[in-house]
Symmetry: C2
Subunit: 155 residues, 2 copies
């Protein structure tokens, strides 16, 4: 059953609650962008940064947030496939994601608390740390809590 | 510049690389689904499970993956807003996300390694742990590496 209908919430866009499955043309194995990497003696799928911003601004502006996340992805060397953001009222919070060939960047904001939770998950040749300065410049956080996880470690 | 065009990769759907910003109607503050919670003496925005599946099956089937993630979200009590999946060739890997009113569930699969990296980030009244049995049933992993992070802890 459509959960949105239960709540009496109707989406503006008819395709909102539907799945979009996109198929990309064949890519040579050598051109794959999400291959496992080996660094510091570890072999793993990718690096996942959990970034909590405190005392941040611009957290209720979906257009700015979209631009910031896209720029952050490009700065880290990623390939953008799709992005989708929701703008909630009345608190103005934004939730959304940029899907990358090398994984994703997501954001959830609480403007009433000047807080945002961002995830930067990147594989292959990308360096997710290169995304951080773009986010700092866009949101001007007083504090950034950063946690780094290596996903898919091969032992 | 459109990164996809640089690589000679053209999306099937014209809206693929564009941002979709959806605005939901006004929600009473009492009805907000992503409020901060207090548990075990801690106040925080939400629980984020990092779930790595090893020895998993069905990792190259975007329709099945979409259904599994949607069911997992509903089982955890979440409200689905949008989902989007990409199916890569030749390895058949799938990358995608389900955007929720309470945050998101994302997945990236490496069928050639029987490995998938899943994120279940949920706020408010949802329990992301309730999503795990649905994922086990869909992907039959031999091993599940689970890490729980509490995002946005208020000290």
């Amino acid at each position: 059953m459509n959960a949105l209908a239960q709540l009496g919430m109707v989406s503006e866009l008819p395709s909102e609650n539907q799945t979009i499955i996109a198929q990309l043309p064949s890519i040579d194995v050598e051109d794959r962008k999400d291959y496992f990497v080996e660094r510091d003696g570890m072999k793993y799928a990718g690096t996942h940064l959990l970034v909590d911003l405190w005392g941040a601004t611009n957290l209720a502006d979906p257009a700015l947030i979209d631009a910031a996340l896209r720029n952050a992805a490009l700065q880290a060397g990623a390939t953008i496939l799709h992005s989708h953001f929701h703008h909630f009222t009345p608190n103005g919070g934004v939730s959304g994601v940029v899907v990358l060939a090398e994984s994703h960047i997501s954001i959830h904001t609480w403007p009433e608390r000047d807080f945002a939770a961002i995830d930067i998950f990147m594989c292959g040749a990308c360096n997710p740390h290169d995304a951080i300065p773009v986010l700092r410049a866009a949101f001007h956080p007083h504090r950034v809590d950063l946690d780094e996880q290596r996903r898919g470690r091969v032992f």
